[in-house]
Amino acid sequence: MADLNIKIKNLELKNPVLTASGTFGYGEEFEDFIDINKLGGIIVKGTTLEPRQGNPYPRMAETASGMLNAVGLQNKGVDVFINDIYPKIKKYNTNVIVNVSGSNIKEYVKTAEKINHLDKIPAIELNISCPNVKQGGMAFGTNAKSAAEVTKAVREVYKKTLIVKLSPNVTDITEIAKAVEAEGADSVSLINTLLGMAVDVNTQRPLLSTVTGGLSGPCVKPVALRMVWQVFNAVKIPVIGLGGIMNANDAIEFILAGATAIQIGTANFIDPQISIKIIKGIEKYLSERNISSINDLIGGLKMESA
């Protein structure tokens, strides 16, 4: 059987399949459907220093092969996470990674610092790309300088594996990737959602309370894949790819384009068992081609003409 183990700095994954922040709750919501321990890891909902109520309803609209969300980082804050949620989920025999967000650098740093003390959290994913909050979030991720600043500040306090999650809403994503790499990010994950909008022609109102929201699902896959390939060719740290992955073939496209690991987001809503199916599908793909390790596939896109 093919070897699916990969490593991202000190983070060891039994397979390259993670679940994306905001789409998998705290894992518990999926316990009825799959064995969480079989995943490479789970990335829990965006966590901030203080509790947040998120945006008003309506927060979701369906689009062609995708959806818009305007959840806006609703979460109970890092302290509740540490005291109430962490004790319940630290039992998982897989990597539990916390997605960290903030309105300013101080908030990012304080939150990361608190999580740094949690034994069973081997990594954080710095969310500098949330399009659904007024302050911070995407503002950090669409500017190389501020992306570098927040990464640098968090790097000083956070000692374990630091993943920075990039926004696709930029002219040149390689510039941002290189900036956070230079400040000590161990890995970059991409993409977060594309900023989009939808209108109800009957009411003549926006379908989201916030007018614009984050677009995800298969509709964004071509853009995500392109960015993963660009970033893979621009940085030395491992790239984690996501955006519209619905099946094993999609995952393999990302791995061929340069992703060391991949995340499953919106697909979890369509099929709560999809993450496990994708692990099996990747295994099958490798076996059928006698590829002994997933590592041999990463960035393996053949570029010479046929």
Partner: protein, 263 residues
């Protein structure tokens, strides 16, 4: 409810057209059904429907433990429900179930009122039957734009005392549900101790207002745009006195006293 959620392929036993807007699907479960409670719902994956990317939430309208089937009562709204309305016998439908909490069941001596409209009848008929089986005979007030929206009256009739309103007067009392004399007579005389409602939000809010004014307990089963249906995405929230709560798993049933903007 702490019933384990399942994902399974159900088989279509029957697809019955009620009128141009509504149809009823009877689905056979592949395994023994767990106990299911009124207001719980399922998430259906509708394959090959244009522009239907996400699953669709539909209430459980009836359940037959002997036949091991559930029945759905569905209104054609867009592409998803239109495609479902054409599904043929023996086709299979992938379903996640049972989802959500349920209406709370009163004790025997209470007099309760069910108020519904349109496809809000779906969970209410299940509730009426459930109450009836517990020897509680509810008042049932069903409203709609016209005759076409008044569904399964005979069935409701088996389980309670039915009152009907239509806006165009084509059936029953002419007007909207809140104008029906029943509300004046029974509610305001405090004969009713609890109201259950499901239907369009403005209707439910109006009912809640009457209930609050008369100090009657009231539970509403809400709808919302849902992406996951299992509590993971936080898309489906409603504002409550204890913050934003998820309609799909903290609800769909809420005590209206806890809903902000429903005073």
């Amino acid at each position: 409810m702490t019933t384990k959620k399942q994902i399974q392929d159900f088989i279509v036993l029957n697809n019955k057209k009620i009128n141009s807007d509504y149809f009823e699907l009877e689905l056979k479960a592949p395994v023994k059904l767990p106990e299911i409670f009124p207001a719980q719902f399922i998430e259906i994956h509708i394959e090959n429907a244009k522009d239907t990317f996400l699953r669709r939430p539909i209430s459980i309208h009836d359940i037959d433990y002997d036949k091991n089937t559930i029945t759905l009562l569905i209104q054609i709204k867009g592409e998803g429900t239109k495609t479902l309305s054409k599904i043929e016998k023996d086709a299979s439908l992938n379903i996640i179930y049972p989802l959500g909490n349920s209406f709370s069941i009163p004790d025997k001596k209470e007099k309760v009122l069910l108020v519904g409209g349109g496809c809000g009848s779906a969970p209410l008929l299940f509730l009426a039957k459930y109450l009836f089986n517990k020897n509680i005979i509810p008042y049932i007030l069903i409203g709609g734009k016209s005759e076409n929206d008044i569904l399964k009256i005979e069935n409701f009739g088996e389980y309670g005392n039915v009152f009907i309103t239509t806006e165009d007067g084509s059936l029953g009392f002419k007007g909207i549900v809140t104008e029906h004399p029943l509300l004046k007579k029974e509610v305001e005389k405090h004969n009713i101790s609890k109201i259950y409602t499901c239907g369009p939000e403005p209707m439910m809010k109006a009912i809640a207002k009457i209930a609050n004014k008369n100090n009657i307990a009231c539970e509403a089963s809400l709808e919302n745009m849902m992406a996951c249906g299992i509590g993971a995405c936080l898309c489906c929230v409603v504002e409550t006195t204890s913050g934003n709560q998820r309609v799909c798993c903290d609800g769909p049933v809420f005590d209206v006293k806890n809903l902000k903007g429903w005073e």
